[in-house]
Amino acid sequence: MSRSISVRILILAGGFALLGTQAAQGAGPYQFFSVPPCRIVDTRNPVGPTGGPALAAGSPRNFPITGLCNVPTTAKAAVLNVTLVGPTKDGFLLIWPYNTSMPTVSTINAAAGEPAIANGAIVPLTSDPSLNLSVVYGTATPGGSANIILDVTGYFQ
């Protein structure tokens, strides 16, 4: 990459309990399956399991991935493009497998007022019939909200 990208890493503010202490574990090997690019989640849409409302800062939301957009229920990880839309405060986005400990690594960092900012991510999926991953919008100061879009381009299994 020839262009530098300004990235601000924000310190995870207080208020998030670390839900688990299990050590990271490897799994695999998995193979890649390409799918036609497909939008799974867009919180700008009407309220629903894969739609609104917007993420309120500090409140995690859980989303289904498998069974949608040609991702089978047997998928172990999703190849996503994660877009954060219109964050109202400087903040960051965490994304991790549903029903596991919240990680301390961010997927997107964005300044307040950014119209939209995206990042590619490969996210392990929890094998739950209805929910596969969790997201949370974190901010340095209380309050704020942002919309999130999850597009899938492939999966591993």
Binding site: N70, A118, D151, T153, Q157
Partner: protein, 652 residues
Amino acid sequence: MPDSVSYAFRKGGFGRALRFAILLLAIAFPWGRPLLATTVVPISDAELYRRADVIAHGIVLSSDVTVDDLGRPETITFIEPLSVLKGQLSGSLVLHQVGGTLPDGRFLQLWGRPEYRPGHEVVVFAIARPEGEFQTAEMVLGKFEVQKDEEGRLFAVPALVADAPAGVTVRRRAKDAPGDSLEEIRGTSAPRHLETFLRSLRQTGGESVASVAPRGALRSVVHTEFTEHHRIAPLWGNISGLWRWTNGATAVFTIDGTANITGGGTAEANGSMATWDAEPNSTVNYSIGPGSANLLHVDALSSPCGWSTCLAGGGVIGCGGPNGGATHSWRGDTYGTITGGEVWVRSYCTANLYGSVTTQAVMTHELGHTLGLGHSDQTASPHDVCRGDEDAAQMRAMVQGFTTLGTDDSDALRWLYGDGGNSCSTTSTPPAVTTNPASGVTQAAATLNGSVNPNGMGTTASFQYGTTTSYGYTTTPQSVGSGTGSVSVSQAVSGLMCNRLYHFRIVATSGSGTSLGSDQTFTTGACTPSAFYTLTPCRVVDTRNAAGPLGGPALAAGADRVFSVTGQCGIPATAKALSANVTVTQGTAAGDLRLSAAGAALQLTSSINYRAGVTRANNAAIPLGLGGGFSVHSDQTSGTVQVIIDVNGYFQ
């Protein structure tokens, strides 16, 4: 039925006229039961006279079976009066009688029902019906057949005796048991000397009938001039074929004989022409004008339909029909061409005693025959799908008391000349659809096939598909025209899951409705996993470079650009997807990029978002499609953006 007959004979007169009984061994019923016996008690001439509203001596013109309001066979008899002995008649005496045999074989037979045969001379005691016209008083008792003895003297013979079927014995009982009030009236069942009988009825109300005995055998008086061809309203629908005019024909009818009719005729003729002309589905232009191609005889002294003299009874009758060839009409099945028409209308000898409405209704009816229409209430056409409106039609066998067309008339015209539609079916046929097996099934795509017959209405077709019979996805509808033949429809679908059973069906919609085809299924190809292969990071696309397949120019707003990258940077032709870093820079407006496999439908997914002027980068897994390429779509509303794509691996 015996009960109803018995009731009809007894009502009103059982006690007073119970003087004399005739025992009949009656008639086999049509379904072949054993013979039944019915006792009938005739009533005196004076009692008959008292009950009758009209008594007429005349000649039977016609007696045809039609269908009454309740769907039963009904016989309608026209009698041309020679003299009216009680009451008043304007025109023919029209008698209704339940019963008879229809042309299609349906029948209702009642014993005691008077039979009228065309040409026969009769004396009839008639009772006015609440709904108009007449019925014979006391069924068979109200009818007398005029017969001639061997000396040529005329007698009125009670129909009970004169019309008794062969094999039926008519017996008299002179007296019943002592104490019974039965007492014979002399001559009640005997032939009456006609002249004396008529004078008695005219002068004394049927009392004191002189006794004159006939000599030798009695034979009915038949006026042969009435026995053939005589129809008040000819059944054109049943006579040697049925016809229609050439579409768009102009038929000029010339009025003939207006000078001899009082009370007009011209206005009525014009009105009846206009009625048919105004029917929007008739392409025949009727008008009144000069010439002799089509004649409307307003005062026809004679006609081919039968009458040849001045009609003493008065009233208006008519007949009419087409000239031409070929076969069939509204009451038939196919049709040919009419080249001309002629109508004969006859009113009273010296004055039109009927009103304008009736005269025009007769003319309208006869002109309907010249259009090729048969009688609405006689014979049925398979094209007459709206039933129950036959009696309101001008083409009903009986003249109407109004001049407008009924829905049956209009439907007949629509079938013969117009759009073929009718008044009771508001929609035509929805499209006919067939779902055919899918073709070109791959891992992620298939071609869905079907056929549609638009059935004449503008129709669009699409496919519903999905992994269940709830479908859930619909292709973009495409037009299949408005023809009447089958049209093949094929639409490609992509973005399917591998190794899955898919259901689909064709859907066609027109103004007549939506038709759903039957369900078909196909299974997409087996899923093929890809393995990841690293590449030394390599810049494969940079639109800032000189113009070329993988270089400039900058991506324009709204544009799609396909980059074929296999063979570049070590990407093999077998690669299915790329692991890449997508960078945008120098965007002149805010926007985003959508990346998809070359040849695939543009999806609602973005790979990178940016503001004007910023440089941004993002990771992406990019599927490769046709020609080992991928497509980049700019969602900027205006301007351009430079796109740089660096690869760091591929999947295959």
